[in-house]
Amino acid sequence: MSKLSPTLPLESFSKHWPDLTVEEHYTGELISLAIARDEESAFKPAFKKTFGKAAPEPSQIIAVKGGFAMWSSPDQYLILLEGENINADKDIAKKMGACAYATLQSDGWASINVKSDTSKNAALYDVLERFIPLNLRQAPEGFATRTSAHHIAVIVIKYSETEIQLLTPRSSARSFLDALIHTADNVLS
């Protein structure tokens, strides 16, 4: 075990309002997985074998063995794995073989959960409609895409009607969080 201790980008931030919580959420490991050129036929079964399911469609995130998989760009997926495993990219690359390329991404992103504490989700969308340019109210559960908010890149994942995860680059995560909190305060307090 290394004596270097890991730090989270936002130092486990959390803030609560009546009916809304914004908190940094440890996601585990993120791995980019790209399909090698002309290897789709090998990739499909390998993906199924590794993750237990077919790969997601554009704008989609699905639960897979060990975590979630979302479509990130043509021939590329982002795998969200539960638990800490600094060599997760290598492990996945080994399982997938020559049909795919894996890249470790976990440290590149800060993860923020925005969720309603009850089934009432008005506050969630009232805040996010002043923050994210996409139509999240009507997006289906399992919607996931990359966009930008307040000049900062963000991956938006709608796990359920009451829970949305925002992944944003680590280096600017503090600016992103400040803007989100400011917006939430404007709407809710």
Binding site: M1, S2, K3, L4, S5, P6, T7, L8, P9, S32, A34, A36, R37, D38, D75, Q76, I86, N87, Y101, T103, L104, Q105, S106, D107, G108, W109, E129, R130, F131, I132, P133, L134, N135, R137, Q138, H150, H151, I152, P169, R170, S171, S172, R174, S175, F176, D178, A179, H182, T183, N186
Partner: protein, 942 residues
């Protein structure tokens, strides 16, 4: 039927005097209620002005709202919702409102005709700027903008709907009801704080009951529908491409409240319905701008909605609609009866009629017909068409945006019945079932073409900008006959109301002058915004420290704890230097950091360099295309410097690339170019060579990366790298790279690269360990007196080594100019190779990078100085280049510089003058090789 709640008294001040109004009032209605007649002064002649309208069309009643140590100028009193404590002041006068010194302009009016300033103030030449213009500028403008920072906050938001309905009058409400009940996702926006449009101001009946009942019931129903969003006080200010609409919501008029004052909505709508109603227009006759001359519809609004009786009111109308106004005297132009002049300077006292008769009156309600509010149909360059029966411009279905429908008065359907019918028709068009048509009035307007009473006196067309009918005639006489020329020459329609009440009257006067019809005369282009929008709302929260994001490096916290001064590098904050106690200035710190690094070991956070994972069977081939040199031959476990060109042959970026496996390269970019280079590489991959097996992932934020440089770099790293990895010079020579573990198993990558010219490495770890690693290294480094150094010391060392950086890779320099011509592979094609061979880029006298040292060691060099041959007078012809980087070298104890000199590489040893003309400094410098320090590179290979 009034909408005033006189149980709720609101106190306010106007020009310091205290008044009271009621909940439901606007500032305008409250002032009228308190019988305040003069509320402002006109732009040019400084004529006393009163309230003329009731909404955003108001041209006269502009005031300032004061509060929180600042003020908001140019607010229409008609659109300010009265609140308790409102502090409003009139504007554009010198001295008190009632005794404006600049009212002298009104008496000078013969000399101040349209365009007078173009014809004079030219002599003597210097006088325009010294004398005339300052006087004009001082008098210009309307309200005063405080120089204090805006204390208010503004939010932005994004809404999505099937249909956006603009305007909540009868047409808008009925459509919203229809579509809302049919389950469509709709937004209904209205700029008033009460929905209902003209139904709030007229005493109509709907279904045999007061119209207000229908309004209230409809709003109640709409409020109960989850798929309907009602947005009052929300002005749709602009229509943009592909169904994007700009909306400005006003939450309060109070300054300095804790909540955002406005929310700027970007609304994405699959279709829109414009139900924005119509605006009544005045008639031009002598002194028609006197306080008390009002639009007839406004007079009715103040009576019905605000419960204010304007005493002794006369009516001038050219249509039936005006006849709804209660008036003691009625002058209907269609019966040959009209007003020719108004008596009373600060308020109407008398009216002169065309019969010559003079009658007493205190108010004159004027109706010159109605203009549909077609503005929003025109933002995408559609043009409305003239309707000869209605005598107004109506939307032209042929040019209307395909996703927009126009209904009700905005469509020239002026009666309430016609508005409802339009609403039901558009509902069917959108595939929904309309509800039954409410029963209501269906009276035609019967408007006549009566625009202007000709006479010797001035008759106002554009009230705010003081454009009179005569000005328009004069413009035509001087050849300004195109409507655009008239507008620009007279300033007609260019005031804050954008000609809401004046455009059509102005066109009619022009048409009359030219002898053309109105449609032949044309119309000006309506551009956004429909109503003015505060610049603060467009900026939202992006101001001050939040103007742009801030990116922090993994060592930020540690550096901040250790005296770092940070510098902006793009969005990054990097340590510039880290001061220690006793150091007098930044140079002390920087010199120390350089000396400590060169004598022992220094550490610098280089995470900001762009990092790109390049994977695939064709990764090497791909890199061959984008770099001038060859990467397919790079061995696994090795790094190589690479230079990238743009297709035009100019250097784009440089960096190092490491090969971690047969199919895996890691390439770096400069900090500034990380984004553009990634984009470029994706272009090459997707658009030029789509069949290569290569994938790109940005990993800049993933890896914390530190440069460890200096003679003791290896010794320090040996304490960090786990012992099973041999990093001796033999096992891990210059330009080696590899994956390993550190500090007892933490994953890391090590690259033996040097920017400083020292024995140096770059070590990277997943960013989660970045903070821990810098602390660990600094602690382990105590034994060697290790130093954390910033970008200044980094810069000094790279200049000492003659490495080009951002200042040299400035987008105009070639590989050859940078002294990197030798890197360009002759064996292969790469992006930029063909065009780099153009004559202008390889000419003998083209600029080449060299080094410079002052002849006299006391001399300071200036970055940005130009090189002039000794004995020549500085001129464009004798300019031989420029200095691009300078530094004080603590190693060489002199200033050194890099720069570009014509044919520089063949001029080593020449003494030339570095001229900084702005600083009046001319320094003799010797042209030298840019490799100032350890030119053979012995230190980095040990």
């Amino acid at each position: 039927m009034s909408l005033i709640d006189n149980t709720q008294v609101l106190s306010f001040t106007f020009n310091g005097k205290a008044y009271q109004g009621y909940e439901g009032d606007t500032l305008a209605s409250a002032l009228l209620r308190n019988k305040v007649r003069v509320v402002g002064r006109s732009f040019k002649y400084h004529r006393p002005r009163g309230i003329m309208g009731v909404g955003s069309e108001e041209p006269n009643a502009l005031v300032e709202i004061h509060g929180a140590g600042t003020c908001e100028p140019n607010r229409r009193a008609t659109t300010i919702k009265l609140f308790d404590g409102l502090n409003a002041k009139s504007q554009n006068h010198m001295g008190p409102l009632n005794f404006d010194v600049l009212a002298i302009n009104d008496f000078m009016h013969p000399f101040l005709a349209a365009g007078f300033y173009y014809k004079t103030f030219m002599w003597p030449k210097a006088f325009w700027e010294k004398l005339y213009e300052p006087v004009i500028r001082r008098a210009a403008g309307l309200g005063t903008l405080s120089k204090a920072a805006d204390p208010d906050s503004y939010d932005k938001g994004f809404l999505h709907c099937d249909t956006l309905i603009i305007g909540a009058g009868p047409a808008g409400l009925q459509t919203a009801l229809n579509l809302g009940l049919a389950g469509h996702n709709i937004i209904l926006a209205d700029d008033d704080f009460r929905m209902g449009g003209r139904l709030l101001s007229e005493d109509y009946e709907i279904n045999l009951a007061p119209a207000l009942n229908w309004v209230n019931e409809t709003i109640q129903t709409l409020e109960s529908l989850p798929n309907v969003r009602l947005m009052s006080r929300t002005s749709i200010y602009g229509v943009y491409d592909h169904g994007i609409y700009g909306g400005l919501e006003t939450t309060t008029d109070e300054i300095g409240s804790s909540k955002p004052r406005h929310i700027l909505w970007r609304i994405y709508a699959k279709s829109s319905i414009l139900a924005a109603g119509a605006t009544e227009r005045p008639i031009a006759f002598a002194n028609n701008d006197r306080p008390g001359v009002m639009l007839a519809s406004a007079v009715r609004s103040y009576k019905n909605r605000f419960d204010i009786d304007l005493e002794n009111t006369a009516l001038l109308t050219n249509n039936d609609d005006g006849l709804q106004t209660d008036a003691a005297h009625i002058f209907d132009t269609r019966n040959g009866s009209y007003v020719t002049d108004v008596g009373g300077r600060k308020g109407v006292r008398s009216l002169t009629l065309n019969t010559g008769e003079k009658i007493a009156a205190n108010h004159l309600a004027v109706s010159g017909g109605w203009n549909p509010n077609v503005h929003l149909t025109c933002h995408k360059r559609a043009r409305p068409k003239w309707d000869e029966t209605l005598r107004c411009f109506v939307p032209d279905p042929k040019t209307l945006p395909s996703d927009m429908s126009v209904i009700g008065a905005a469509n020239g359907q002026f009666s309430t019945h016609a508005a409802f019918k339009d609403a039901n028709d558009v509902t069917e068009k959108l595939g929904a079932k309309p509800s039954s048509l409410p029963q209501t009035e269906d009276a035609p307007i019967n408007v006549s073409a009566f625009w202007h009473v000709k006479g010797k006196k001035r008759a106002w067309v554009d009230f705010q900008n003081d454009v009179t009918a005569k000005d328009i005639t004069l413009a035509h006489q001087e050849g300004f006959s195109s409507v655009e020329h008239v507008k620009r020459y007279t300033t007609l329609g260019m005031a804050t109301d954008q000609g809401r009440t004046s455009n059509v009257v102005g066109l009619a006067v022009l048409a009359d002058t030219t002898g053309q019809s109105i449609p032949e005369t044309g119309t000006t282009i309506f551009r956004p915004p429909y109503s003015p929008v505060p610049i603060g709302a467009f900026a939202g929260t992006h101001r001050g420290q939040h103007f742009k994001p801030t990116r922090l490096t993994p060592s930020h916290k540690y550096a901040a704890e250790n005296g770092a001064t940070f510098i902006e590098t793009g969005y990054w904050k990097r340590s510039q230097w880290l001061a220690r106690s006793g150091e007098k200035g930044w140079r002390d710190s920087v010199d120390r950091e350089v000396l400590m690094t060169r004598s022992s070991v220094g550490i610098c956070d280089v995470t900001t360099l762009g990092k790109i994972d390049v994977q695939g069977r064709d990764a090497g081939k791909f890199l061959n295309k984008v770099y001038v040199n060859t990467f397919s031959t790079l061995k696994v476990g090795k790094c190589r410097y690479g230079l990238m060109l743009r297709e035009d042959g100019i250097a784009m970026d440089d960096g190092t690339t490491a090969r971690l496996s047969e199919t895996h390269f890691v390439t770096t970019t400069t900090t500034a170019k990380a984004g553009p280079v990634f984009r470029h590489l994706e272009f090459v991959r997707q658009c030029l060579y789509p069949d290569m097996d290569v994938h790109l992932i940005s990993t800049t934020d993933q890896w914390a990366q530190f440069s460890v440089a200096g003679p003791n770099a290896r010794k320090l790293l040996e304490k960090i790298v786990d012992p099973e990895f041999d990093i001796s010079n033999e096992a891990f020579p210059y330009m080696a790279c590899g994956e390993l573990t550190i500090c007892g198993g933490a994953r890391a990558r090590l690259f033996r690269l040097s920017f400083s010219g020292e024995l140096a490495y770059e070590i990277s770890v997943p960013a989660r360990y970045g903070d821990a690693l810098i602390r660990e290294m600094m602690q382990k480094g105590e034994a060697f007196d290790a130093v954390l150094y910033g970008t200044e010391a980094l810069g000094v060392m790279r200049i000492e080594k003659g490495h080009a950086a951002g200042n040299e890779l400035n987008g105009t320099t070639t590989a050859q100019a940078l002294g990197l011509g030798g890197f360009v592979s002759k064996k292969k094609d790469c992006i930029g190779k063909v065009l780099s061979q153009r004559e202008g880029l390889i000419a003998e006298d083209s600029l080449q990078m060299v080094g410079f040292i002052p002849v006299s060691s006391q001399d300071k060099l200036t970055n940005g100085a130009h090189f002039i041959p000794k004995g020549e007078t500085p001129s464009p012809e004798t300019d031989h280049g420029y200095m691009s980087s300078v530094a004080w070298s603590p190693m060489l104890e002199t200033y050194i510089g890099l720069g570009f000199l014509k044919n520089g590489q063949n001029r080593l040893g020449e003494v030339i003058q570095a001229s900084h003309l702005m600083g009046n400094s001319h320094v003799d410098v010797t042209v030298v090789s840019p490799h100032f320090f350890d030119p053979k590179g012995e230190r980095l290979r040990v």
